[in-house]
Amino acid sequence: MPEFFLELFSEEIPARMQARAAEDLARLVGEALAVLNPSGAISFCGTRRIAVRLQLDAGVAESRVAERGPRIAAPEQALAGFLRKHGATKDMLSQDGDVWVLDRVVPGVAAAELIARVMPGLIRRFPWPKSMRWGGTSTLAWVRPLRRITCLFDDVVVPFSLAEGADDGHGLVASFLSEGHRFLSPGAFIVTSAAQWQAELRARHVIVDAVERRAIVAGGVAGLAADVGCSIVEDAGLLDEVAGLVEWPVPLLGQIDPAYMDLPAEVMQVSMRVNQRYFALRNPDGTAAPYFAFAANIAATDGGAAIIAGNERVLRARFSDARHFWDLDRTRTLESRVAALDAITFHAKLGSQGERVRRMVTLAGHIAPMVGADPALARRAALLAKADLTTGMVGEFPELQGVIGSYYASHDGEDAAVADAVRDHYAPKGLGDAVPTAPVAIAVALADKLDILAGFFAIGEKPTGSGDPFALRRAALGVIRIIREGGLRLNLAPLVVQAGLANASELIEFLAERLRVQLRTEGARHDVLTAVLSQGIDDDFARLLARTDAVAALLGTTDGANLLAAAKRAANILRIEDKKDGPHEGEVDPALLSLPEEQTLAACLDSVAPAVARAIATEHFAAAMAELASLRGPLDAFFASVTVNDERPELRRNRLRLLSRVRAAMSLAADFSKIDG
């Protein structure tokens, strides 16, 4: 099959957008040319280009299509609309049964013609995350200025222009020209096929396959590290980014001035990774090694000596800044910095960071005994938790808040548990981040998050569908994860009140909702949680989840699934009959239980209902579910043999009351009507 090739050559595309753009390009081209049966798509991306090659049919032959229109009985407008859509008249229609049919000729089209027709719109409206305008003649927006379009079909140029109406599309027309490396191979070259393009680019110092570039960088830096007896600190994200920043990766190794090697490893790594996109190296014993690796985009005429020297200088300047702050900060204790927090506003309505810290101290001391922490240490850690916000180092590296405080706390001779808690109390910072596990850190981390949540809820700053400017959802998820992963038993409502929110229920509901969303994200039975929650929110989330797990486990058994079906049936009958003359509550009259199946069910309920209530009260949720499961047999038998809506009103009422008791017993565990399926 003939090959289609498209390259969009632009000024430097942000590294983080390249891979997605290449996928989008392959997908959109495939969709736009679907009638040509595209196959074997391969996409490419790099610093200055995205491209795709795929196989297509040479064209589509003329064909006839029977378009089915509205029913003959349909209103006049429906038919008029159908005719308008196809540019047809009524005499062109035939009838098929009770439907109008238009026998339509679909003209054939050559591949090149279709390509030229659909590409301009596809390119003009390419879905970049953020686009910009440039120049003076066109409103065409792209990620960065688009400079060339190469488009071939069957190795022949498919000419088209990006002009649209009065807009000249920056004068861009598809041609057979592409460009190699900006510095090593400047100027255009002629493209004759996708394969030739890829080979020619390699000769012109561009590796256009992102996977290959990544492998060159990964292998190169690993080799350089091995040469000096070290290894690279693995960083897949950095590798991806670096592969997107170079067309011709040349891995190089630089040295770190030993004078800076006593800086905290985190400081060096943030500086190298975030600011410089360097790979950190470590010694065989795991300690930081005095080297860094990186990829240049050029094979320099001096073998890279000037580039290495330049990069070493840049890093020296960065570390010199960090060293300045590191030395200056440590001339004062962390404790002496606490007072300065009074001058930093946390939020106009929630006071200063100092006030926030005082609230956290109280709250952490309160939480400590519940999580097995020493209250004095928890209070101390909370007091120092935010003090590093006033240090020069955190001013310089905001992402190291907590980490820096922890180093300074250790330097001041604080208890190790306190220093660790200062570092870990922000955790978990995101989905992939671990939760604190040490008791003191747990106490402070919960105090930190509950203070934020209670504070913002108290001033009416709750997250909305569109916005969560204070990251309250993240704080809520943090609370939930710390409790779940730590198996913590605590009642949140009194803590929320303690944190200053008099009306706790709204926040507890918010937390429960986040828990439900989290379960859904995990692919767990969030409907089961909904069913349990609708019986009233238990603010002890560990207990709430244990109960939810038990209900979900029950539903996973055959007994449970059948019980659910029977319970739903009972609930449905009750809903319908209650509407007529309900509610059907009240005592079941044993004298009116005429059939053995209803007698068995009633007897079973007499023992099961109190047993379930007892088991739940003592948190024996599995036992409670086993009790409920024992209802399945009698309930199935009941439905198999007993007519609920008996002609005799007293029998009907009694049987409805019996079903009402079934529903009540089930409700002790959850509202089963909320369960899916």
């Binding site: 000024e11 430097e12 942000p14 590294a15 983080r16 610093t47 953020k130 910009m132 305008r133 440039w134 120049g135 003076g136 003649t137 990620v143 960065r144 200025p145 400079r147 900006r182 510095f183 090593l184 920043l245 170079v246 410089q276 996109r277 360097y278 990186f294 240049a296 985009n297 050029i298 320099a300 005429t301 001096d302 000037a306 580039i307 020297a309 330049g310 990069n311 200088r313 840049v314 890093l315 020296r316 300047a317 010199s320 800044d321 300045h324 001058a343 930093i344 506003t345 946390f346 939020h347 106009a348």
Partner: protein, 297 residues
């Protein structure tokens, strides 16, 4: 840089950039005489970026960042430094190539050094402005910022400009292979950057962090705000804009004094943005009145 020749002095760097950009048809302007945080605030960029008239200019702008003062003790950081600013409207198709030529002109050879364009979305909340572009890296160091202006004063640019900002001290340190800004060769005849500016850095750091009178600064801010509004009533866009720049600098000073809380901060920025927006609108209205043929745009 070719290692055999002596690298340019600080002032020579400026002269070479002037010569280069003059060659490209830029109007070579002198620094604006109002304190400002960046060369972008110069009316030759902020105001001229708006509307449909082509424009090209280059100039050095002293830039004041009161919070960056380090009493002359930090080798890299200054509360007063120089930006070299270029604006070309509309953005020329060869903007990137021109830029690289300008680096060649000051002795940085792209075949010897590793030049990159690394994503950087520029935004100035106080000016209500944003654009897309890159940090320009040379051997891992940011040697400039390249932006295609998309919006200024809350108004979309009809002709997007190319804006290039060079941090002159940092660039000079790189070219001269100097580790401490005060050691820069200023004139090629023995005068260092420290000879010229070290005392100023010490004194202004003390002013910015310790002695600037907070009440008076707040009053000056309010005055500048009122004056700007009054001048806008008279449709005097340029004098009004001076007051807007003054307000922005006064805000930066208050910020350095550490008396602006996070929420107040947003409030101050919003107030300056409102002034900037008013000035930009008044400027555009004046442009249209100047040239009736543009009134329709």
């Amino acid at each position: 840089m070719t290692e055999t020749t002596r690298p340019p002095s600080f002032q020579d760097l400026i002269l070479r950039l002037h010569a280069f950009w003059a060659q490209q048809g830029c109007v070579i302007l002198q620094p604006y005489d109002v304190e400002m945080g960046a060369g972008t605030f110069h009316p030759a960029t902020t105001l001229r970026a708006l509307g449909p008239k082509p424009w090209a200019a280059a100039y050095v702008q002293p830039s004041r960042r009161p919070s960056d003062g380090r009493y002359g003790e930090n080798p890299n950081r200054l509360q007063h430094y120089y930006q070299y600013q270029v604006i070309m409207k509309p953005s020329p198709a060869d903007a990137q190539a021109l830029l690289l030529d300008s680096y060649r002109a000051i002795g940085l050879d792209p075949l010897l050094h590793d030049f990159r364009f690394v994503e950087d979305d520029w935004e100035s909340p106080t000016l209500g402005a944003w654009g897309l572009g890159w940090e320009v890296w040379c051997d891992g160091m940011e040697v400039g910022q390249f932006t295609y202006f998309q919006q200024v004063g809350g108004i979309a640019t009809v002709l997007p400009s190319f804006e290039m900002t060079y941090g002159l001290e940092r660039l000079a340190m790189y070219v001269q292979n100097v580790e401490r800004v005060y050691d820069l060769d200023f004139n090629g005849r023995g005068v260092t950057y420290g000879d010229v500016f070290l005392r100023a850095e010490r004194e202004y750091s003390a002013h910015n962090f310790e002695h600037a009178n907070v009440e008076r600064l707040a009053r000056h801010f309010a005055d500048a705000e009122l004056e700007c509004a009054a001048l806008l009533e008279q449709k005097l866009a340029l004098p009004a804009y001076d007051q807007c720049i003054k307000a922005s600098h006064l805000f930066n000073l208050l910020d350095a004094r550490g008396v602006i809380s996070v929420t107040e901060r947003a409030g101050y920025i919003g107030r300056v943005r409102t002034l900037a927006k008013g000035c930009c609108e008044a400027w555009l209205a004046g442009e249209a009145a100047d040239s009736p043929q543009l009134a329709a745009v």
